[in-house]
C-alpha cells in the first residue's frame, strides 16, 4: 500500500472541501451571521489538507490504493464537514455533528435535529450543500478540478461511483467527470429556476434543489416539503427526484442525439416500470381504503411524491406516510432496498443489480429444468460477464449481512422492530426517513451514541457500495507490502 500517495490524494480532496466551504461562508456573511464556525473549519482543513497534499509520493496507484483512499477520504471529509455544526453550538455533541455531516455527504438526509427552522442560514446552507457535493461525489469533483492526479484516477472514480460497472463517457477520466458535473449543474440550475417560479423564496429554492440533486433530503422546514403547501413545488420536486435517479450517462447519450439508445436501456425501463407500478398500487390502496385524501388527484400526487422520494433515495416528505395503510408502508420499505439507477446520485441496491439478480434467478430455474443448457445473462443486449454476476451476488449478500448486523447493534437501544429495522435500511440505502420513530415527521435524536456511529458508518458504507469501507477495515490493506 502506497500510504503517502493515499494521504496526498486525501489532502488534495480536503483542500477542495475547504474551497467548497467558502460558499456557505459567503452565505453567512450575506445574512450577517457569525462566520467563525466556518472560518475555524476552513483553517483546520487547510492546515491538515495542505500538509498532506505536499507529501512527496511516487505515483504507483493501483486498485487497492483507489479503494483505500476513497474509504478514508469519505470518513475524513465527513469528520471535517461536521466541524461547522460543532462550532455553531446548535448540536448536542460531536457524534451528532458527525452523524449529520455523514448524512449530508452520503445524501441520506437523516437528521438528529427535532427542529431545523431556528438554525442559522449558513449552517442550513452547508447542510444542504453537502448533499450536492456528495451526490456526484467529492472525488469526482476533485478529479475534474485537479487532473494532476494522473491517469490511474479511474480506480478512484470506480470506487466512488454507484453501480456494478463504471462506464466512461469519453476517453479522458477528467473530461468524463467534467461532463458529469456539467449535466449535474445544469439540471440543478433548471430546478432552482422552476422552484422559484412556484413562488418559493430564493434561499429555499436553492437548498431544496441541492437536496434534490444529490437525492439527499435535508429540508429547511420541520415539515419538509409539505410545509410549503404548494402542489406545483411538490410536482416539480417529484419530477426532478426521478430525473436525478436516472443514470447520468443517459443524459450524455441524449445530448449526443442517441434518443433510441436511451429508451433501449434495460435498467431505465425497469426503473420506469417499478415507479409506475408502485404509484399505481399505492394510489389504489389509499383510494380503496378511503379516508386519506379528498380527491383522486391529490392521492396520485402524494403517492407519486412518496414513491419518487423513496426510490430516488431522497427522503423528502409531502405528507406523513407513516400513517398510510400497511400495504403502502411495506411497499415503500421494499422500494428502499431497490433504490435508483446505477450512475445516478441515488443510493441503495440499484435497479440494475436487482434486475440482474432477477435474471440470475430465472437462469437458475432454467438450468434446473434443462441441466445441460447453456444460459447467459444479458443486459442492454450485451452479455454480463460471469465475474460481474458474481460481484453482484456477493454485493447483495454483503448488503443484507451488514443491514442485519447493524440492526442487531441498533436493537440495543430497545426501540420497536419497525423503528430499528427501517432506521438501518434508510441509512444504508441513503434514504433518510424510515417508519415509526424515524418516520418522515420523526428524527434520529433518540438513538444512543453507539447507534449513531453505527448508522453513520452504514450511510458511508451504503454510499460507497461497501467495498471501499470494507477495504479500509481489512487488515491486509494496512500492510505495507
Amino acid at each position: 500500500m502506497n500510504f503517502r500517495l493515499v494521504f496526498k490524494v486525501t489532502g488534495k480532496t480536503l483542500l477542495v472541501e475547504a474551497f467548497c466551504l467558502l460558499l456557505p461562508l459567503a452565505v453567512t456573511l450575506f445574512y450577517g451571521e457569525d462566520p467563525t464556525p466556518f472560518l475555524y473549519t476552513i483553517a483546520a482543513i487547510f492546515v491538515v489538507g495542505g500538509a498532506l497534499s505536499f507529501l512527496p509520493a511516487s505515483d504507483h496507484f493501483f486498485a487497492r490504493e483507489g479503494f483505500f483512499s476513497v474509504g478514508l477520504i469519505w470518513v475524513l471529509v465527513s469528520a471535517f464537514g461536521a466541524l461547522p455544526f460543532f462550532f455553531s453550538g446548535y448540536f448536542p455533541s460531536y457524534v451528532d455533528c458527525f452523524f449529520e455531516a455523514a448524512s449530508g455527504f452520503t445524501t441520506t438526509g437523516a437528521s438528529i435535529l427535532p427542529a431545523v427552522e431556528g438554525l442559522p442560514m449558513g449552517v442550513l446552507f452547508w447542510r444542504s450543500f453537502t448533499h450536492w457535493l456528495g451526490g456526484m461525489g467529492v472525488l469526482i469533483l476533485t478529479i475534474a478540478l485537479l487532473p494532476s492526479l494522473g491517469s490511474r484516477t479511474l480506480h478512484l472514480m470506480k470506487a466512488e461511483s454507484p453501480g456494478p460497472v463504471v462506464s466512461k463517457l469519453v476517453p479522458k477520466t477528467s473530461q468524463s467527470s467534467k461532463i458529469l458535473y456539467g449535466i449535474y449543474c445544469a439540471l440543478t440550475l433548471i430546478q432552482i429556476i422552476c422552484l422559484k417560479l412556484t413562488g418559493m423564496p430564493w434561499f429555499d429554492s436553492v437548498v431544496n434543489s441541492f437536496a434534490t440533486a444529490g437525492t439527499g433530503g435535508f429540508s429547511v422546514k420541520n415539515a419538509s416539503i409539505g410545509a410549503y403547501g404548494s402542489p406545483a413545488a411538490e410536482i416539480i420536486i417529484t419530477i426532478f427526484m426521478l430525473l436525478f435517479s436516472v443514470n447520468f450517462a443517459l443524459y450524455f447519450l441524449l445530448l449526443c442525439g442517441k434518443v433510441r439508445q436511451v429508451f433501449q436501456s434495460d435498467e431505465f425501463r425497469f426503473f420506469l416500470f417499478i415507479v409506475a407500478g408502485s404509484i399505481l398500487l399505492i394510489t389504489l390502496n389509499l383510494w380503496l381504503t378511503g379516508g386519506y385524501y379528498a380527491t383522486l388527484g391529490e392521492t396520485v400526487r402524494h403517492a407519486s411524491f412518496q414513491v419518487g422520494t423513496i426510490i430516488s433515495t431522497t427522503g423528502f416528505a409531502s405528507t406523513n406516510f407513516d400513517l398510510w395503510p400497511e400495504f403502502s408502508r411495506i411497499l415503500l420499505v421494499l422500494l428502499m432496498f431497490v433504490g435508483a439507477c446505477a450512475g445516478s446520485t441515488g443510493g441503495a441496491l440499484k435497479c440494475s443489480r436487482v434486475l440482474v439478480l432477477l435474471k440470475c434467478v430465472r437462469r437458475e430455474v432454467r438450468q434446473v429444468v434443462h441441466p445441460r443448457s447453456v444460459n447467459v445473462v444479458k443486459l442492454d443486449g450485451k452479455v454480463v460477464p460471469e465475474e460481474t454476476l458474481r460481484s453482484i451476488l456477493l454485493f447483495f449478500f454483503a448488503y443484507m449481512f451488514i443491514t442485519a448486523a447493524s440492526t442487531l447493534v441498533v436493537a440495543l437501544d430497545n426501540f420497536s422492530f419497525g423503528t430499528t429495522l427501517t432506521a438501518v435500511v434508510a441509512c444504508i440505502g441513503n434514504i433518510g426517513p424510515g417508519l415509526e420513530l424515524v418516520g418522515p415527521m420523526g428524527n434520529y435524536a433518540g438513538f444512543s451514541c453507539l447507534s449513531k456511529i453505527v448508522l453513520s458508518m452504514c450511510m458511508i458504507v451504503g454510499r460507497l457500495e461497501l467495498l471501499p469501507i470494507l477495504v479500509l477495515f481489512s487488515r491486509n490493506a494496512w500492510k505495507r507490502s
Binding site: A63, S151, R152, L154, K168, V170, P171, K172, T173, K382
Partner: protein, 466 residues
C-alpha cells in the same frame, strides 16, 4: 486528437500508453475482456468491446470524428477490412499493421484500393533495424535522420578508449575536424546532455550524431573500427529472420539460420536458397558448438521467447562473438541485459510503436513546425527529434549563442540547403531548414517548445564539440 486503436495486444497497448500520455483522446477496441480490463485499469483510455472491423463497434467508438485509426490486431485481413470500413465511415487517417510476407509485396496496390494511408510491418522494420546495426557493428544502436544522411549512434565507452577521463573541452582538438557531435550520455540511470566539462567514463553510453563518414572516422580514431560483418548466425526462423535474411543476402553476407520447425526450415530454404538452414534447437549449446558459432562475426537471437534470446545471446558473447543482437519485447529485460553488457537489445513492439508515434506527432503539429522523426534514446529517458522549421518558428536568423534554450536541450544538427552543419554559437536557423534536437525531457512537440522564455544562458545548453 481523437485516435482509435483496434486490437489491444502488445503493440496496441504500447501505443495506447504513449498516446494517452500525450493527451490524446484514445479509444481502444478489442474482443477480449481481459485485455480491455488491463487497459482500462492502467491507462486513461476508453475501452469498447467488439470486433474492430464491424461497423457497430467502430460507430460506438466514434469513428466518424476520429483523426486516426490504427488497426493492430493479430490478423492482417481484419486490419485491412477495419481500415477500409473506417475510411468509408469517415476516419481521416488509417494505419494498418500488415505483416504477411505475401502481402508485403502488394502493398502499394493495397494502400490505394483499401484506403489505407500507412502500412506498418513490424517484422520488416525490425529486420531493417538489425541490418543497419550489422552494417555498423561498433554501435549498440543506430537511428537515422534526414533520409539516412545523418546518423545517431550509441556506443559504450571502454576502459582503454582515449576519450576516457578527458573532458570534452580537452578532446576538442582531436576530433574537431570530424562532422560529429556528442549529444547525450547515459551514466547509470542518469542522462547527461554533455557540455564542455563532461568527461566520458568507462561504462558510459555515449550518443554521437553526425554524418556517416564522420562516424567511421571517429571509430577508426578510437581504434574500434571492426571489419565488416561477413558471417551471420541467426537463431529462430520467424518472420523477422525471413525479412532479415533476405536483406543480408542482398548485402552479400553469409547467413546460417537455426530453426526448430522442419516445415519452416523447408520454406525458408525454398525462398532463400543461399542461406544455410539448420533444423534444430538453437538453445542447445552442443548444436551451436558443432555449427561453430564462434567463427561467425555476428550472432542474432530471434526466437519467440525473450528469455531464450537473452540467455543464448549471453552465451554467444561468452564465445567471443563481436556483435550480438537479441530480440526482447519486454522492456525490463532489456534493462537487465544492458547491465551485463548486452547493448543491442531490440524490441519489435517499440520499433512499431515508435514508427506510428512519429506519424501521429507529425500530424498533430501540422499547424506549427513539422516533426518528421522521433527516437527515444538512452533507455527511453531522452528523445532525439527532427523538425522542419517554418515561418511559425520564433527567433529565426538569430545566432544560437543569443538564444535562451530550456535546460537539457541541445540543437544537434542544422541542415541548411542540403548542407549538414554541426551548429556553433554563430549558426542560426532559417525557414525551410531541418533541425535535429536532443532533449532530456519529453513533450517537446514544436521547435518553439525548446526556447526558455524566462532566463538561463545558452552556454549550458550548447555543448559538445565539433
Amino acid at each position: 486528437m481523437k485516435i482509435i486503436i483496434v486490437g489491444d495486444g502488445k503493440v496496441g497497448f504500447t501505443l495506447a500508453e504513449h498516446l494517452s500520455r500525450e493527451e490524446h483522446d484514445v479509444t481502444v477496441i478489442d474482443t477480449n475482456d481481459d485485455a480491455l480490463r488491463r487497459a482500462s485499469e492502467s491507462l486513461d483510455v476508453l475501452c469498447v468491446k467488439g470486433n474492430g472491423a464491424s461497423i457497430m463497434a467502430l460507430r460506438e467508438s466514434g469513428v466518424d470524428t476520429a483523426d486516426i485509426i490504427i488497426a493492430a490486431t493479430s490478423l492482417d485481413e481484419v486490419n485491412m477490412v477495419c481500415c477500409l470500413t473506417a475510411k468509408r465511415l469517415g476516419a481521416k487517417y488509417t494505419i494498418a499493421r500488415v505483416r504477411n510476407v505475401e502481402y508485403a509485396v502488394e502493398l502499394s496496390v493495397l494502400k490505394k484500393e483499401l484506403g489505407i494511408d500507412m502500412v506498418i510491418n513490424p517484422e520488416n522494420a525490425t529486420a531493417v533495424e538489425i541490418s543497419r546495426l550489422l552494417r555498423f557493428p561498433s554501435a549498440a544502436n543506430i537511428e537515422t535522420f534526414y533520409r539516412g544522411r545523418v546518423e545517431l549512434i550509441g556506443f559504450r565507452v571502454q576502459e582503454d578508449d582515449f576519450i576516457c577521463g578527458h573532458s570534452l573541452a580537452e578532446l576538442n582538438h582531436r576530433v574537431k575536424e570530424l562532422p560529429i557531435l556528442f549529444c547525450a550520455a547515459e551514466r547509470g540511470d542518469e542522462v547527461i546532455i554533455p557540455d564542455g566539462r563532461y568527461a566520458p567514463q568507462a561504462g558510459d553510453k555515449l550518443y554521437l550524431i553526425g554524418q556517416p563518414i564522420g562516424m567511421s572516422q571517429f571509430f577508426k580514431l578510437l581504434g574500434r573500427y571492426t571489419p565488416k560483418v561477413k558471417d551471420v548466425f541467426i537463431v529462430g526462423g520467424g518472420r523477422i529472420a525471413h525479412y532479415l535474411t533476405a536483406i543480408l543476402e542482398g548485402m552479400n553476407m553469409h547467413v546460417k539460420l537455426v530453426e526448430r520447425n522442419m516445415d519452416r526450415c523447408r520454406h525458408i530454404s525454398e525462398v532463400l536458397p543461399r542461406t544455410m538452414v539448420i533444423c534444430g534447437d538453437g538453445t542447445d549449446q552442443e548444436l551451436l558448438e558443432s555449427e561453430s558459432v564462434s567463427a561467425s562475426d555476428a550472432f542474432i537471437a530471434l526466437t519467440d521467447r525473450d528469455e531464450d534470446n537473452l540467455i543464448i545471446s549471453l552465451y554467444a558473447m561468452q564465445m567471443g562473438i563481436g556483435k550480438v543482437i537479441a530480440k526482447s519485447n519486454r522492456q525490463n529485460y532489456a534493462g537487465i541485459a544492458r547491465a551485463v553488457g548486452l547493448d543491442s537489445v531490440i524490441s519489435p513492439k517499440l520499433i512499431t510503436a515508435n514508427q506510428i508515434l512519429q506519424v501521429v506527432r507529425g500530424m498533430e503539429n501540422s499547424k506549427g513546425s513539422v516533426m518528421t522523426a522521433l527516437y527515444k534514446i538512452a533507455s527511453g529517458n531522452a528523445e532525439a527529434m527532427e523538425f522542419v522549421v517554418n515561418q511559425t518558428t520564433r527567433h529565426l536568423g538569430q545566432p544560437l549563442k543569443d538564444l535562451k534554450l530550456k535546460k537539457g536541450i541541445l540543437i544537434a544538427v542544422i541542415i541548411h540547403h542540403n548542407r549538414i552543419v554541426i551548429p556553433e554559437g554563430s549558426s542560426s536557423m532559417s525557414q525551410g531548414d531541418t533541425v535535429i534536437i536532443v532533449s532530456r525531457d519529453q513533450g517537446i512537440l514544436d521547435v518553439n517548445d525548446i526556447f526558455d522564455e524566462s532566463a538561463l544562458d545558452l552556454s549550458s545548453a550548447m555543448g559538445g564539440i565539433g
